[in-house]
Amino acid sequence: MATTRKTTMTRTPLLSVQHLTMRFGGLLAIDNLSFDAYKGDITALIGPNGAGKTTVFNCITGFYKPTEGRIGFAHETDAYDKIDALTASANRSDIHGSALYLLERMPDFEISRDAKVARTFQNIRLFGGMTVLENLMVAQHAPLMTASSFTFGGLFGLKKYQDGHSHAMELAKFWLNKVGLTERADDPAADLPYGDQRRLEIARAMCTEPKLLCLDEPAAGLNGKESAELNELLLFIGKEHGTSVLLIEHDMNVVMGISDHIAVLDYGKKIADASPEEIRNDPKVIAAYLGVDEDEVEEAVKTPVKKKAAKSKGAKK
């Protein structure tokens, strides 16, 4: 424990959510929530249904404007030194030197385009009538627009656009290969089976070349085999490819199997924030997650960890 605590002290976060509060009319969906996600980590956000997890995601990715709070996002670890100065200013980002962004000030598309935070959706949102490959090309809109000189160059087939296009194709092929959909590249996305659609959505988000990938229940509706494949894919993204991952998930095999660090939400409040083992044994979490049914708590504590790929780096703030 002591060592983990020490590592936390020296690391600064990639994403830092501070005092986030979100109200919908009279409903307090998120109540003064603070948590961090670290570079290179897979961070999980768990909690019972209706705890406000998706709302947190929507605030981070700009689909909702939080009622209160600050969401800092830094590409470099030292950038957080400037966060108070940036907050005091009217700017939404500081891209001189090490990039620092205040996500709560940015419109949704800029969060993806500039801050490089990508996301998937709980109910998959693919471009169903477009092919798998087209889905991945749409994700590379911003660099391709630049390459096509905002369409004018592309219209006349300039070389710059052709280069940009082939580069985009390479990236799309790389992720197609990673999610095992190369064979189906030219089929409409809506024709894919459910599990493939989930993976395609992740591949599409990765094609925006994000620094942080936010996944909203990626294992929902997957069978055991598919869920194991998903674990592998997420570990590749988080550990080998070097994109940090923030994950909402109900499937404990996935959460416990791959996360470095878990934050638990209940009724919009954070009730725990620690490593998977600590969370597993935290009575507060068990009570919140499973209700107060004693038997279920017992069972949950006894369930063995199936996969333990990442070392425990969990942290308590």
Partner: protein, 447 residues
């Protein structure tokens, strides 16, 4: 009326059921027609005089009953779709186009280029008449292609497209009559002005969703028409603008008799057909340019973003696409082509008035796009030929022409709700370009 999907194995019960339905249909038609067909109101001295037409009333009820009987007894009761027969009978335009791939567009293009010469050879007396129809069809093809960008690709329902057509027409007419600018300078200017109006109108309204956008675009269309109608000093009000200059042969010659004419330039005998043929080729070229740019844009990130926007706007935003700008660009480019078509219209007619830019025009253009199959370029051509060409041929029906037009719209839509050509061609492919069935393609805003 009873259920239409019941499968009856016994003809007797089917017969009785069909007869029953026929009687009901006849009765309802009788009620509907009782006043509007049964009685004719005519203006007479001191008020209105009524004429009773019992024969017509019973005929209408009888036709409805008979029609319903035929449908119930021969088609619905036997679980066959009327549309299947139509499909077989017409050999399915969509099947033909997807089956023969590129042949049909090339054949159509070849026909379009050769048409004036074929007509001059085959029917020299009526060549002008047919060429005029072809020119009108091509104007609608171009308008359809322009609106296809907005509705078909970006999925934004625009019910006021005629506004941009009007802006283009009036821009050319005013620039040419006031400043004496030539057609070839005005053409791009009119396009730019219409596109500019597209941005101005689009900017405040494009964050509205679905049908709200539709009603506001309709409102803008009406606003522009009302302004054209009432801003007498500039637009001439209901009198419109007349004596709009005709286009020259690229500034080299005009189409008048005499030394400065086209005939003199090429040293051929003068013919009034030269101008007609030139105008035909001009609109053909403009339409093809629209098509080329649209096809090109579909393969660029901008066009792909339009289609993605039609599929799922929220997903677009999560991928870093500025949806406002993307919508605006679709609106502006669509408007630009509408404006260019408008200035062609003005120069061809030589006279324009607000009457040419009513809501019904927007409705017809939208119908062409939807009947053709949203997003399908060849579908627009087919629908324009069927709708515009078809009603031109029915011109001798006179007042029944628009009735037939409306009924045709309803029937074709029920037969093929996805439009005549209902496949989507992917903009990029890895191994092979497979057409996407339209059932999977979203229709944009409003869901």
């Amino acid at each position: 009326m009873g259920s239409v999907t019941d499968v009856n194995q016994y003809d007797d019960s089917l017969l009785i059921k069909s007869l029953k339905e026929a009687v009901i249909a006849g009765f309802i038609t009788f009620l509907m027609a009782a006043i509007l067909i049964g009685v004719k109101s005519e203006i007479a001295i001191g008020g209105i005089e009524l004429k009773y037409r019992w024969g017509a009333l019973f005929a209408a009820a009888g036709i409805a009953a008979a029609g319903r009987f035929v449908l119930s007894y021969l088609f619905w009761g036997r679980d066959t779709k009327v549309g299947d027969y139509l499909d077989k009978g017409l050999n399915g335009l969509s099947g033909a186009t997807s089956g023969m791939g590129k042949i049909i567009p090339i054949a159509l293009l070849a026909l379009a280029i050769l048409l004036p010469f074929l007509l001059m050879q085959a029917v020299p007396a009526q060549a002008r008449y047919y060429l005029d129809i072809a020119t009108v069809v091509l104007i609608y093809v171009m308008l359809g292609w322009g609106l296809n960008i907005v509705v078909g690709l970006a999925g934004l329902l625009d019910l006021g497209y005629v506004a941009f057509y009007a802006v283009g027409a009036y821009s050319y007419a005013l620039l040419a009559t006031t400043f004496g600018l030539s057609f070839w300078i005005c053409l791009p200017l009119a396009g730019i002005l219409a596109g500019f109006w597209g941005v101005i109108l689009g900017f405040p309204v494009l964050r509205l969703r679905g049908d709200y956008l539709a009603i506001v675009t309709l409102a803008f269309g009406e606003i522009i028409r009302v302004v054209l109608l009432n801003w007498y000093e500039v637009t001439g009000g209901p009198d419109g603008i007349s004596r709009i200059p005709r286009p020259s042969f690229f500034g080299l010659a005009d189409f008048k008799r005499g030394d400065s004419g086209f005939a003199a330039l090429f040293d051929i005998p003068y013919s009034p057909m030269h101008r007609i043929i030139f105008l035909y080729f001009l609109i053909l070229a403009l339409a093809l340019l629209t098509n080329w740019i649209t096809n090109r844009l579909r393969r660029l990130p901008l066009g792909r973003a339009w289609e993605a926007l039609r599929e799922d706007e929220i997903a677009c935003r999560s991928l870093g696409i500025n949806t406002t700008n993307t919508k605006l660009s679709a609106f502006a480019i669509g408007a630009m082509f509408g404006g260019i078509a408008g200035s062609f219209f003005a120069t061809r007619q030589g006279f324009i008035s607000p009457e040419s830019f009513t809501f019904i025009e927007s409705a017809i253009i939208l119908a062409i796009v939807v009947l053709g199959g949203l997003g399908s370029q060849i579908g627009v051509v087919v629908a324009a030929i069927v709708l515009i060409g078809g009603t031109e041929i029915f011109r001798n029906l006179e007042e029944y022409r628009m009735l037939v037009f409306g009924l045709g719209m309803v029937l074709v839509m029920i037969w093929k709700p996805r439009g005549l050509v209902s496949t989507r061609i992917p903009s990029v492919f890895l191994k092979e370009r497979k057409a996407v069935s339209a059932d999977l393609v979203a229709q944009g805003e409003g869901h």
